[in-house]
């Protein structure tokens, strides 16, 4: 190709392209959509998504992750939020996000239908997160193993310290699991900080493994890999429903609980849809879906029928859990590093 020709071709091209550019028109985009990060079990997430789509016609894009992962992602995306609503998962990361202003304040017209604990959490978070279900902490044991080893049935937190259960208790590491952090905070609130740490040190001798995930001990109990495991009671109930030889225990001294929460992401691109979902998710009809999806938490709307398999909150001695104090990042850091130094590094 000769130089002149090349230049002619190039200039013609450039000219044509430039000319084309001047004939331009704008474009607009509009859609009824909702992007949801879902922190509970896949099955429940799906049920919620399809039910809401059927009800409103709003297309939901749902991604399921653990609540810690969702928090990390919401924080990383805070400059340019991708999600509109964060539904489900244990309350601590929701409270943390509220503290850091990653979520939006909102008062739903459905607030009056909610249980006290849900409203209290909403107030403590300065209107940024609301309880949708709650689950009490407890433990479960493998009935086959308990019988074959002739261990008396454990009923209280104190029973877990018995020498017969040496290396037979499993619980998650509070550094990685919200469940185990709830245990730490619960014990400290029941027994006081000094006595509580004495208890945890004694428990350390009986713990065979600090798992990473909070619900893992439930599976280990069901499979007989450990005799007893400390988890939220509804995680153990799931194993019982699956016909595993597991008995669920609500400790006699009283116990703490988690509040599964819901928050609207600050700067959500589909704010209207997010609010619509928020209101809908607080109704009894929406909360009924949990039991169908084999999740046996206690719903926050007073009118929702409590699933028959769910641990009865009336049978459980619930402590007055201070979510504001034990959910704050400063207190959490302090307790966790104390636990690391005084408990985890102890010899067995």
């Amino acid at each position: 190709m000769s130089l002149k020709k090349s230049f002619a071709a190039a200039t013609a091209m450039a000219g044509a392209i430039t000319a084309l550019s001047f004939m331009a028109a704008g474009s607009a985009r509009a859609q009824g959509a909702l992007v949801m990060y879902c922190g509970v079990q896949e099955e429940w997430c799906r049920a919620m998504t399809t039910a809401f789509e059927r009800e409103t016609g709003i297309k939901v894009s749902m991604t399921r992750k653990s609540s810690g992962e969702i928090y990390a992602q919401v924080k990383a995306e805070s400059q340019n939020p991708r999600a509109d609503i964060w539904w489900g998962g244990t309350g601590d990361p929701h409270m943390q996000a509220a503290e850091e202003g990653l979520t939006e304040e909102y008062k739903s017209p459905k607030m009056s239908e909610l249980q006290d604990w849900a409203v209290r959490q909403w107030e403590q978070s300065k209107n940024r997160t609301v309880g949708i279900y709650s689950g009490a902490l407890g433990f479960g044991y493998n009935t086959d193993l308990v019988q074959s080893k002739k261990i008396p049935e454990p009923k209280c937190w104190a029973d877990l310290l018995k020498p017969e259960l040496k290396d037979e208790v499993q619980v998650a590491d509070p550094n990685s699991s919200g469940t185990a952090y709830t245990l730490l905070a619960t014990i400290v609130q029941i027994m006081g900080e000094d006595k509580g740490f004495e208890y945890l040190k004694a428990l350390h001798k009986n713990v065979n493994q600090y798992t990473k995930s909070g619900a893992a001990p439930a599976k280990a109990v069901a499979l007989g890999e450990t005799t007893a495991g400390i988890t939220f009671m509804h995680d153990m109930v799931t194993m019982v429903v699956d016909k595993a030889p597991v008995k669920v225990v609500a400790p006699c001294e009283g116990t703490g609980y988690e509040i599964g929460s819901m928050s609207i992401i600050k700067g959500a691109k589909n704010m209207d849809s997010a609010k619509k979902f928020y209101d809908w998710a607080l109704t009894a009809d929406a909360q009924k879906l949990g039991a169908d999806a084999k999740s046996y938490q206690v719903p926050s709307n007073k009118n929702t029928p409590v699933p028959p398999q769910a641990p009865k909150l009336t049978d459980i001695k619930l402590i007055n859990f201070d979510f504001a104090k034990y959910g704050s990042s400063a207190e959490r850091k302090r307790l966790l590093s104390k636990w690391d130094n005084e408990v985890k590094n102890l010899p067995k």
Binding site: M1, L3, S6, F7, A9, A10, T11, M13, A14, I17, T18, L20, S21, F22, M23, A25, G26, S27, R29, E42, E43, S61, M62, T63, R64, K65, S66, G68, E69, Y71, A72, Q73, K75, A76, Q79, N80, R82, D92, P93, Q96, D167, N175, S176, S177, G178, Y181, N208, Q209, K212, S213, A222, L223, G224, E225, T226, S329, L336, D340, N345, K348
Partner: protein, 728 residues
């Protein structure tokens, strides 16, 4: 002016004036809308004044087309390319989604300043054009012997590594020096770095735990040595013996690599756990008490050896095959015994392969996340620690970054040691000269040792996979062995409705997305990896070592950190690609590229340079030489990197857990969710489906790439060439 240069200049114009400059997701309602109206030129004329200066370098690139002066041509092209890239980068980083991004600009020009979205196709094309024009200009000025193909390749690879490795990694490592509010806090870094839980040595003196750094290092060394030994045993049996069940051995040795994470760990628990099948047998028959020994170092070690031996095997088989029999024959002619020959000739020639296999095993072990998560017990390693520093109850990104720096240091240390060990020796054995000797059969000791390691291991693998196979078809593994197809129906149900087939199974979405992403990323990974390997071994340019270091960097960084860093770096303009399938593809390409690079280097360092030189002397250009001479000889490396990247795209967890969206959900994150929910059956069933898909893909890749023929006769009596490479 070459036609290629001219073409790129035109493409630069197209990107600037025709294609949409912003956004990858923007919906276009009509064709004219999509072309022209969103272009930088239109935006520039409508108020986005900062885009207009880019016209100047675009014009500058046209100058050498007009003027004939060869001498100044290069200078104009370099100037155009450099200033074009600089302008695009500058405006991209200075003006963000919410106005000015820098405090200086905000105070100088007032808040909030102009806004713009992330770059789109137009910006990408124009930037690429500027880059290539720059490289062509450098070639015209005599760089790399004036070879524009070489300079462009180097330029493109460097640019890609900068954007997809260095940029995100710097973003996250910067947070190691910041407190939780993002302020600069070096003291906090030092405190976190010297923490006792990282470096403690208590396990030596008492029964306390050692620091997580030592744990990781110890495990990595064990796994590196173990996988190299096992991989070598398999490779020797496969290439140098007449073993009858070679095919089976090959399948057995490769199955673990295509197994989604968690599954091997799960199978090990169901076998060796306290209530596991084997433990029950041992208790019933021999009275060996059931224990929990599998949780901790032994369990993780076994699982990682199972998972990573295939990688060592893939690297070593190419190397063992490539060793020229001539040298061995020479040794025997000089009356060396077969053992002496093996020890002094064969083994030293394998050194690049052994070093690479060890390096990969070590690095893989360091970055592995799934197995320590399931089997780690109280044995903590850095990768899980990092994950839970990000998502756990502490939510401390700075700590995660500090731990990543330590992990990174270990990997790079291994890389450096490997270089020191290989030194400057020459390992070339594939030359253009006739070397149609017969590879020696193995000395008896070596053969025996290979059989004794490989066969029990292969049988163990069989047992593990039988467990997995059973797990997919029974109600609940370990408790209820009623046969059922329920898991497959839940995941992969297909219903026939009025309008055709409806994929109602819960796993279909993630399955299709995964296959799509894997199929896209595999060829890209192989291409970029092998191109890089070629540049590293065959070309000499300044900064080569740091270039090599850059290619290894993404591999060294644990997946979780990569995932978070990708979100931090790519969720805001100028490059805004989170939520697209593209970010997943890029993540996989740059995470898996090092395997392509390593196996490419290992294979290339065996092929004599005189082969390329002969081609060049005969007048072929670099690109032609690459296509006609180098690539056919590289077939084992191509297969290795294609297979590896396809498989890894289907089985990676930690990197993608932050990148998946509703539209692009990956199979592995779905499986992790099922494992978390305790639905082992469904998880295992889904995994078996993935295994079958990957097996099919591997066979397809094998058929498509074909066999390398070195003109050597085979040592064993009857293996067809297909058998040797049937499953890599």
């Amino acid at each position: 002016m070459s036609r290629a240069t001219l073409g790129w200049i035109v493409l630069g114009w197209v990107g600037f004036a025709l294609l949409p400059w912003y956004g990858f997701n923007g919906a276009a309602s009509s064709v004219s809308d999509y072309f022209v109206s969103g272009s930088a030129l239109v935006h520039g004329l409508r108020g986005a004044w900062w885009l207009l200066p880019i016209l100047v370098p675009l014009g500058m690139a046209l100058v050498p087309v007009l003027r004939a002066g060869e001498a100044t041509k290069g200078r104009w092209l370099v100037a155009a390319g450099l200033s074009g890239l600089a302008l695009i980068i500058l405006q991209g980083f200075a003006i963000g989604l919410n106005g000015w991004t820098l405090d200086i600009l905000r105070s100088a020009f007032g808040e909030p300043g102009p806004r713009q979205a992330g770059m789109g196709y137009g910006a990408a094309l124009t930037s690429t054009a500027f880059l290539i024009v720059l490289c062509h200009g450098l070639a015209a000025r005599g760089w790399c012997r004036g070879d524009a193909f070489v300079t462009s390749s180097i330029g493109v690879v460097i640019a890609l590594i900068t954007v997809f490795v260095f940029f995100p990694v710097t973003t996250i490592l910067a947070s190691a020096f910041a407190d939780n509010n993002g302020n600069f806090a070096p003291a906090e870094f030092v405190a976190k770095f010297l923490d006792k839980s990282i470096w403690g040595l208590d396990c030596l003196s008492s029964n306390l735990r050692c620091g997580v750094a030592w744990n990781t290092l110890f495990l990595g060394l064990l796994v590196g040595v173990g996988t190299t030994a096992l991989g070598l045993a398999f490779a020797l049996i496969a290439t140098r013996t007449g073993f009858r069940y070679k095919k089976l051995l090959r399948v057995m040795s490769v199955l673990p690599i295509i197994t989604p994470p968690f599954v091997i760990g799960l199978a090990l628990i169901l076998l060796f756990g306290r209530s596991g099948a084997l433990s029950a047998v041992l208790w019933d028959w021999f009275g060996i008490p059931r224990s929990r020994w599998i949780y901790g170092l032994p369990g993780v070690l076994i699982a990682q050896l199972l998972a990573f031996t295939p990688i060592a095997f893939l690297v070593l088989i190419g190397v063992v095959q490539g060793i020229s029999p001539t040298l061995e024959e020479a040794s025997q002619t000089l009356r060396a015994k077969s053992w002496t020959t093996f020890w002094t000739v064969t083994l030293p020639l394998m050194r690049p392969g052994l070093a690479n296999a060890f390096l990969l095993g070590f690095v893989e072990s360091l970055a592995d996340f799934g197995n320590p998560l399931v089997l780690g017990g109280n044995y903590e390693v850095l990768s899980t620690k990092i994950f839970f520093a990000v998502v756990g109850a502490q939510q401390d990104q700075g700590r995660a970054a500090v731990l990543s720096i330590i992990l990174l240091a270990f990997t790079l240390g291994a890389f450096w040691l490997q270089h020191a060990w290989l030194g400057k020796k020459v390992y070339t054995t594939v030359t253009g000269k006739g070397d149609s000797g017969i590879p020696l059969p193995l000395p008896r000791r070596v053969a025996l040792a290979s059989y004794l390691t490989a066969i029990p291991w292969a049988m163990f693998t069989v047992v593990i996979y039988v467990m997995i196979g059973v797990g997919a078809f029974v109600r609940s593994m370990g408790r209820d062995y009623t046969p059922t197809l329920e898991h497959f129906l839940t995941a992969f149900r297909i219903e026939r409705s009025g309008s055709g087939l409806y994929f109602s199974g819960s796993a279909w979405d993630s399955f299709f997305a995964t296959v799509k992403v894997a199929a896209l990323s595999a060829p890209l990974t192989a291409a970029i990896g092998l191109l890089t390997a070629y540049l590293l071994t065959r070309q000499r340019f300044s900064g080569q070592r740091s270039f090599e270091f850059g290619t290894l960097l993404s591999f060294a960084i644990p997946g979780t950190v990569v995932g978070v860093s990708y979100i931090l770096a790519f969720n805001v303009p100028p490059i805004e690609i989170t939520g697209t399938g593209f970010i997943l593809v890029m993540c996989f390409v740059f995470r898996n590229m090092p395997v392509g690079v390593r196996s490419g280097i290992a294979t290339l360092s065996q092929i004599d340079k005189s082969l390329d030189e002969a081609s060049l002397t005969l007048g072929a250009r670099s690109a032609t030489t690459m296509r006609r001479v180098v690539l056919p000889l590289l077939r084992p490396a191509i297969v290795a990197s294609l297979v590896y990247s396809f498989v890894r795209a289907m089985t990676a967890v930690s990197a993608v857990i932050f990148l998946v969206t509703a539209e692009y959900n990956m199979a592995t994150t779905y499986i992790v969710g099922r494992v978390e929910a305790g639905e082992f059956g469904l998880a295992i069933a889904y995994s078996t489906v993935l295994i079958v898909v990957m097996l099919l893909a591997i066979v397809a890749i094998q058929l498509a790439v074909g066999e390398r023929r070195l003109g050597r006769r085979s040592a064993s009596t009857a293996p067809s060439p297909v058998a040797v490479q049937a499953v890599p």
